[in-house]
């Protein structure tokens, strides 16, 4: 299951709407091992395409180094589908390289409502998982290591 704060969901959807009809993509980083998405980073889609995305390689290195330095990892990797449903394509599954990440898809094909779904993609196998949107992790049942949100 993916538990994620509402403001992060709003930010992902806002990014996807802004870049529509091109695919938008980004990362939500969180503390290593926490499974708690906290810091959203909008990434450049180097392909600037309505049917494909790829993180810009130079930007990815900077962002990954910053995560490493902060003991963070990519908890969520998100992108949008602008004309199809929020389900991973064959392209998505064949390039998925982060078995620990939640792959979030936002579909912006409908101008009024969005569709947001989350998947695990491991060795090309796609498993959909439920998404629980919360106001704050502080009051959610995330286990004994629960800590307040960063200011």
């Amino acid at each position: 299951m993916l538990m994620i704060r509402r403001d992060l969901v709003d930010a992902m959807v806002g990014h996807a709407r802004r870049d529509h009809p091109d695919e938008a993509c980004g990362v939500v980083a969180g503390p290593v091992g926490s499974d708690r998405p906290e810091r959203l980073i909008e990434m450049i889609n180097a392909e600037r395409s309505p049917t494909f995305y790829r993180f810009d390689a130079a930007e990815q290195l900077r962002v990954w180094r910053a995560m490493d330095a902060a003991d963070e990892e990519p908890v969520v990797i998100y992108h949008s589908h602008t004309a199809t449903e929020a389900y991973p394509s064959r392209t998505d599954t064949s390039y998925a390289s982060q078995p620990d990440a939640h792959y979030v898809l936002v579909s912006t094909r409908d101008p009024d409502t969005h569709e947001l779904r989350s998947y695990r993609i491991i060795d090309g196998a796609v498993t959909e998982e439920p998404v629980e949107v919360v106001e704050s992790y502080m009051f959610s049942h995330t286990g004994a290591d629960d800590v307040p949100d960063a200011p």
Binding site: E47, A57, A58, E73, T91
Partner: protein
Amino acid sequence: MAVTVSVPTILRTHTGGEKSVDASGSTVAEVIEDLDSRHSGIKGRLVKDGSLHRFINVYVNDEDVRFAGGLAAAVHDGDNVTILPAVAGGCAGW
């Protein structure tokens, strides 16, 4: 040339879980050969048909080797070689 190689999570099965390993070579290709001799199978994840796999990014220090000769890119003593799988996908393919 002795270099340090940063290994992404998905390839750490080849390095016994290590995120950073030592290797030697004067080009990216030689570094990968040397890596493969110590961490069997890693080359097959990085190189396809004699060139870097399209969805693997390799950097020497901060430089994407794609713009520096690919596998022929030079490495120097003390350099850091970073391997990162590209993050890519999209709706094409359906």
